[in-house]
Amino acid sequence: MQPAIQVRGLSCGWGERLILRELDFDIHTGEVVTILGGSGCGKSTLLKHLIGLYPPLAGSILIQGNELVSADNQAREQILRMIGVMYQSGALFGSLSILDNIKLPLGSFSPLDTAAIDTLARLKLRLVGLEEFADFYPAELSGGMQKRAAIARAMALDPQILFLDEPSAGLDPVTSAELDQLIRRLAETQGVTIVVVTHELASIAAIADRAIMLDKSIQGILAIDTPAALAAASDPRVAHFFHAARPARAGTASVL
């Protein structure tokens, strides 16, 4: 079975500035893979290259066996139909209700009629637990609800791969845990491959089958393994990421 994503010799950067060099990795169909690492290691840069927003400096990216980097416009559109993306801020269209946010790509890129689009969009909202809020505008929703609505929109065209950029960022631990459960449930029920950029250790443990750890000092991949294996790794840089101790204030350690 071909990998959902196959990356070979991928170097990413901005202009002359190299951020990641010669990455090689596969992401298998149905997996939940997290891309993790410290701030500035290139997590979001890698994601933006994987979804074709920026051209890499070198290397190839195969999405479901289709080359993304050298694809012409038509092939590129076909590849983009296979992926859904949730951006860090949600990036919902503020002038549309969340139902209309989901209907928009369905109306443009699916042959369904209006009634079918309406049913399908409402069911996407049911999947993320927002069915009752269909007519709400993004500004009327909490941060966690906006993220869930953004996931529903990313799922609108039934993508085979879902990319989530920092889904837990800015959320309280309870909402963050609920979102993790949703991601896991989507992976299990929808059969979709999910790539999540995050540095939340709790999220990584809760959702990931495997994790790709990037490191700024080597401008590349430090380790690829299961979260449990990474947490037990002997490499000091991996261990430091997973077990970085924060000094507790006197008297609070026993409380937390």
Binding site: S95, D113, T119, K124, L127
Partner: protein
Amino acid sequence: MAKPSAAATTIAESLQLRAGGYAISGELTLHSTSRLWPACRAIDWQGQTLDLAAVTRVDGAGAALLFELSQAGAQLQHLSADGQRLLQALNPSQPLHIPAPAGELPLISRLGRASSLWLNDLAEQISFIGEAAAAFALTLRRPQLLRRAELWRQCEQVGANALPIISLIAFLLGIILAFQSAIPMRQFGAEVFVANLLGLSVLRELGPLMTAIVLAGRTGAAFAAEIGTMKVNEEINALVTFGYRPMNFLVLPRLLAGALMLPLLAIWASVIALLGGAIVLQGFGIPLATFWTQLSGQVTPLDILTGLIKAVAFGLVVASVGCLRGLSTGNGASAVGASTTRAVVQILVLLVVTDGLFAVVFYHLGW
């Protein structure tokens, strides 16, 4: 409504009617369901069976179709494990929640709502004028409160940077006015009086008004968009929590820049428009010296003063409405767009109203 019969009938490409019920074959995906969906809606599914043994793949859209059929009473048979997993995630026993569309409010309610919004808006504008006046008074007492660097920056943006567009519009305006007036005046041999006409209309009326209209689109919209974006990004909240007053920090430099720069731009625009008119009249055989003699004989310092007073008022209108609409921006990118549009429309309306008021006042003053 179709009912099952003994012979197999193809209803849609992959939907067959067989003895004992219906059957679907092939893929149930986003693209294949587009033809199936309308066909399935035409069937009374109550008590009918739907055999899905020949379905090869189901995706989210396919599951949505099966959800709808299940809700319509169809008994789904032989659905694959993947399909069942997708369908169960949609909770098919729970009907879809579709709120009834909100009915249109009665006329009296709509009138009431519109009046309430209008009154709130008016109250907001009056409050803004009061706050701006208070901020100005405070700045007069404590001049160190005025951010001078910001004032000069705004003066540059409102004034110096607007010179090219103001010059172009004013020059063309002078040319057009002179042409349109000179042609009929020539029939009476009175084209020399076009200079008088131009002098009065440009210095008293068109110079300040045209400049203000250009600045409404250029500066008023920019103020509304800039302050509106700051509001959306919570930069205004950050200013308040630091102890800054948005009125002093943001609004006052812009108001002063508007009030100071618009008269200067209006004078410049008037000079350029008169220059354009003079060039046209040369074509009609009126030399520059004659043009100047006619102009200086007609235009008094009071005409120039009335134009300048208007320009100051127009500058305040452009800057204050731009700032007010920026500060009252709601949430999201669309709110910034709405504020900008509102600012420009409101500025244009207020400019005409202000101009009308000045006309009445100046008439009664005998200016």
